[in-house]
Symmetry: C2
Subunit: 123 residues, 2 copies
Amino acid sequence: MEPMAAPSPGKCHKANEVIALIGDKWTVHIVMQLATGKKRFSEIERSVDGISRKMLTTTLRGLERDGYVTREVFPTIPPRVEYELTNFGRELSCPLRALGDWAAANHDRVLAARRAYDNRVED
Amino acid sequence: MEPMAAPSPGKCHKANEVIALIGDKWTVHIVMQLATGKKRFSEIERSVDGISRKMLTTTLRGLERDGYVTREVFPTIPPRVEYELTNFGRELSCPLRALGDWAAANHDRVLAARRAYDNRVED
DNA sequence: TATATTCAGTCTCTAATATAGACTGAGTCT
DNA sequence: AGACTCAGTCTATATTAGAGACTGAATATA
């Protein structure tokens, strides 16, 4: 098979900078949750399994900073804060959803490959 | 706007497990590099900016374990080891490329959002 | 009236993870 | 003889993540 042409370095570099943010452990999960609609802090916390408050705060702040989500504070007691994807965030959620769908569809193949590898290695 | 239906929990969970692997700091970069063709260890090291030898080894092993890449050792001196995407890995590279393309295309919008946020916050 | 609960965080302490950089081994090159 | 190469590994340090206590003021409960 003919090797494909390498993408231009400029493009790679630009992609890398942005992927550095969206390619971390929690961002994908959070964006996918917000893709289902506006959510408050504790709702996201409950729906993203295993995330700590600290990381949820940190990740949401990063998403807000980069323009993917809005944060709306209601000065009630107890406080209420709602997070929602911007249009830009909804655009991002498309390639992210494609990745998530692929991941879900190929889950079993990955597990099979992993078992096969572990059997090969353990002797 | 009507909220969209949440994906089924099963699907989410499956996707999460797989994304846990491909959604780390280096995997995306390495797969994108390998998408341009077979590469040896030091070539990847040079093309993925800032990666440490240890993380390159760790990440490549994970990708091999999950069936995304093959590792071929040539017992020469000095040693030569070639990494190549499997067909499965090439499948993965499609949604990953889509994400990378989106990231590259929207790089400037992210940076603008970030500057705007930082200006808003710093007072 | 006293107490518990709620939410969206923050803070601190500890645990896990990543990085930097030295080291390896045997064959070529100078 | 000495330097250089590659694909790692090893160790020590630095960065990052996680667990869990704490906050403050209104409401709900006993």
